[in-house]
Symmetry: C2
Subunit: 155 residues, 2 copies
């Protein structure tokens, strides 16, 4: 039981490690045919997943970083024509960050590289196992995030 848990967590730890290495990112951008640093890609994919323009603050919250970090990277993405600022209809002082057409395309390519990695890794799995993985992963993500939020907030 406890052994099971230890194995689960250490498997997880290894995956997290791998996915955070510079080499992995390098490989991703190479495969996607773009030259962007990690935070840039994270922001693009976040916007793509969102499906609509988002404010700086919301992007920061979503990616769990501080806003100056987002400000800086959005500025470079804007210069490269991958995102643009549009007025927030609800709040005149605020802007929303929108993917440009090219930005959306780049974001899809980056996202696809990652999903392809997963797909390649589980290609040999049974249909049932793949479905189970999807289900449990979603559940784990929800439960772990909300659990951590509680743990971190309750101080």
């Amino acid at each position: 039981m406890d052994e099971d848990l230890n194995r689960t967590v250490s498997a997880f730890r290894m995956l997290v490690t791998t996915l955070n290495r510079a080499k992995t990112h390098e490989r991703l951008t190479e495969a996607a045919g773009v030259r962007l640093d990690r935070p840039d890609v994270q922001i693009l994919v976040y916007l793509l997943d969102s499906g609509e323009p988002r404010r700086i603050g919301l992007i920061a919250t979503g990616l769990q970083v501080e806003s100056p970090h987002v400000t800086r990277h959005v500025a470079t993405l804007e210069q490269r024509g991958l995102v643009e600022r549009v007025r927030d209809p609800d709040d005149g002082r605020a802007w929303r960050i929108a993917l440009t057409e090219e930005g959306a395309e780049v974001a899809s390519r980056c996202r696809k590289v990652t999903t392809d990695w997963f797909q390649g890794a589980i290609a040999e799995w049974s249909e049932a196992d793949r479905a189970e993985l999807s289900r449990l992963m979603g559940k784990l993500s929800d439960d772990l995030s909300s659990h951590l939020k509680d743990v971190i907030t309750l101080r």
Copy 2:
């Protein structure tokens, strides 16, 4: 199918993000009652998981970082009495890094905080789901690492 995959990956992405934030680490060390930076903890837990002393190079490979990084952090861990160097019996020029008694204790506390987080998150899950998670997670970790290794090597 493709939708499933996208959800799996984006759930994953979120978890990776959360687990890599400074605040999460801060929370971990606070709960474990230690004052160590992230690489220090990674090295300690790696050694604990290994169950035996390891050489610098192997630690670097395992954590997927370059050896100078390990050298530096091992030096501080050594100063703090959490690890010690022992001669490699197989190769006189090499040393192995061993956990001291205190180091092993600190490492266990850190590892336990993480596993407790997981445990708390999945506490309400059915026995069957927990077992499935463990099984699929191990499988995914193996398959994804080896798949990535292939992808990254084949260049």
